[in-house]
Symmetry: C2
Subunit: 131 residues, 2 copies
Amino acid sequence: MASARVARLATVEADGRAHLVPVCFALDQDTLYSAVDAKPKTTTALRRLANVAARPDVTLLVDHYEEDWERLWWVRLRGRARVESSGPPLELGLSLLADKYPQYRRRPPPGPVLVVELNEARAWSASGPPG
Amino acid sequence: MASARVARLATVEADGRAHLVPVCFALDQDTLYSAVDAKPKTTTALRRLANVAARPDVTLLVDHYEEDWERLWWVRLRGRARVESSGPPLELGLSLLADKYPQYRRRPPPGPVLVVELNEARAWSASGPPG
């Protein structure tokens, strides 16, 4: 799943409802990095960061869909998130993201990065126990 | 987005963390239906239903990923969810899901269905205002 191109990040709003957004991500052992890119979704980006600051427990999902439902799978990750705006954690995150995504090499995101220390993983596969 | 094959459903757990699962869905105007299928993910299915019973406000995301990031888009939906285990709401939901997915026609899910009365939609597109 580390090679998956997109994950969905769920945070929890102040009003207790879930917030959901697709994210690009890079994994380094039990740490996941995601950039807030420079696209025109500023409100959403800020919401995500504010949610994480107030409630650092986040949930991520990577899933595979195809019309043969025997080949469906997903991995759900949980962890504690923090926002890093400068220094080595930001540089490491941006570097890992650039390694994975040529789009980030062409147009480096300014940061900040979201750093998630993963503490739980659950995998499901339609065809039986995941490898 | 009604034709998208998969959405991600976020509910909120009793402990305040988000729960996240991929779902197949059918839309009928402002109502979204999703089946709990008969696959071996019983614990997850039960979790989702228990979460909805305790906190009916759910969030769903449909997104499009491709390597040309100028073509990214997503739609985030919010609504009040309930679980329907019998009668016309279950039958309507299963019928709409069977219309959309041949997989459900071949192997009808037993139910229950999750019925979400949508009350908020937000769309984002990398290339500008969504159509």
